[in-house]
């Protein structure tokens, strides 16, 4: 047993997901995070500090490299000077969508009210009639444009239930793999690379190569396959030998807790 066991063992699921995402981000990438997504907010900061001195962080539209900072705390919100004081430029020179041709280098994160087996997501609302929704969502923000163009993106869900993981979204605000198939996005003329992983409080999922159908990739510690099946409202592809999602190392958790999430937001989610 090494000394890191107790620390790693008591990490929260949100911390686990932040560390998982951080490891999947590469130095040199542009990482864009929108509103109200604390796990990706933490993940991009952690990756930047751990292994990404040439990453560029884009919060809403403020582009910065803050690798030199001792701390990159989580923001209270958007665009006041506590965030933008480090800004080197406002992305696309202040006109946010004037340079989408270069977004293949960019990585993005989306949440959703619903997600279907092909990674299509919904921020519009739940219900049959758009004029009388049962639950009105916040709207699409910039996610349709971002997910159309970025090199890849991650779907980050705050819960994992049959109401959220549905066979078909009531409304689609971001197209993942459409009706399925590796050529689905090309046929629609969407240049970006599409969703890579879906991360939830229960597991990590990816998409099959041919059909682009959602597939279980790893289970978080203590979660069973039966639990995931019961909480997913569609048939998930389940290959043999599902591993446990690898736990954060001591070094990652130390940086996360002392240099990024200094108020413990990810332990309260």
């Amino acid at each position: 047993m090494s000394i890191d066991q107790p620390l790693a063992a008591d990490c929260s699921i949100a911390e686990l997901l932040a560390c998982f995402l951080a490891r999947d981000l590469n130095d040199g990438e542009e990482l864009q995070v929108g509103v109200a997504l604390p796990i990706p907010e933490a993940a991009v900061r952690l990756a930047h500090l751990m292994h990404g001195p040439n990453m560029e962080l884009i919060f809403l539209g403020a582009r910065m490299n803050v690798h030199h900072l001792d701390q990159i705390p989580m923001p209270a919100f958007g665009w006041d000077n506590r965030v933008v004081r480090w800004t080197e430029s406002f992305s696309d020179r202040g006109h946010r969508f004037d340079q989408v041709k270069d977004w293949h280098r960019r990585v993005f994160f989306v949440g959703g009210l619903q997600v279907d087996p092909y990674g299509n997501t919904n921020l519009i609302g739940v219900g049959a009639d758009h004029k009388r929704l049962k639950f009105r969502g916040p709207g699409s923000v910039g996610t349709p444009t971002l997910t159309t163009h970025v090199g890849r993106y991650y779907i980050v869900l705050n819960s994992h239930t049959p109401r959220l993981c549905v066979p078909r979204c009531d409304f689609v605000s971001t197209v993942g793999w459409g009706q399925g198939g590796a050529d689905a996005r090309r046929k629609l003329g969407l240049p970006g690379g599409g969703p890579k992983y879906v991360v939830t409080p229960l597991c990590i999922m990816d998409f099959t190569d041919e059909e682009k159908r959602m597939r279980l990739k790893s289970l978080h510690p203590g979660v069973t396959i039966e639990q995931v099946i019961a909480q997913t409202g569609f048939e998930l592809v389940i290959p043999p030998g599902i591993p446990v999602t690898s736990a954060p190392g001591t070094d990652e958790l130390l940086v996360l807790r002392t240099r990024v999430d200094v108020t413990g937001a990810l332990r309260r989610l």
Binding site: F77, N81, K131, P138, S140, G142, F171, L188, G189, L190
Partner: protein
Amino acid sequence: MNGARESRLIDEALAVAGLASGMMIAIGEPTPMALVRHLVRRGLRDLTVIGSGLALDVLIAAGCVRKTISYYAGGGVGVPVAPSFRRAAERGEIDVWECEEGILTSGLEAAGKGLPFLPWRGGVGTSLPEVNPDLKVMTDPINGETLIAVPAIRPDVALLHAAQADVYGNVQHHGGPGWIDLFLQRAATRCIVQVERIVSNEAIRANPWATTIGRADAIVRAPWGAHPWYSRGGYVQDSPFLADYVTAATAAADRGERAALERWLNHWCREPVTHADYLERVSLKRLLALHEY
């Protein structure tokens, strides 16, 4: 020859006096609350509002809105959907012109450029063209690609907040214009800008590259004018103040208990006659505590 160059500096009540129920009004970011409060105070109705977040929600709560053109009506962490927006949309009391940031800015750019529409790719394959029939799926005549034709969006007026201006309508945002203000200004018929301070024309001419809007139709002096939201280069968001609003608006939306919300709207929006009256209610101590660093 005689006469002097005309000042465009007017007070907030006069600035809003020219607005009428039924208009399309665009709200910039940072939020021009000194002007927005007067929309509530005047009791305007049936507005089409281009806006986002809790500022949009306050106008809906006050009954000013018939239709929203909004890419985002959440309130940040902890408030996934703004309460008054959610309730009004679910009950069919407002029309939601479903869009997203790239579609909205394309429509505004079409208006500014005098075009009937501009094409946009973001949204292809989504439900947006189904739930918003004004968005037309089109085949591009050059390469045959599938795109969305976004019709021009032409606000009657844009209400904006910036750091400074001279009395002639030369506006300078702090550290640049943010992301949407100039789209709104280019598209709108009229543009009213409230500013933290009025500076001399000489100060503007010292750095004309910093001028973000050259001919605003009216300038309103409004120090702390974005409160309870932030103003870059000035102060940060007053989160407890906004939390009070969210609590009151949620009680009204979820349980039909409107008393606290009406008190909030009366106290903060309807009763203060001038911007200074509002700031006195907020109190100097509270405002000074919002200093940026």
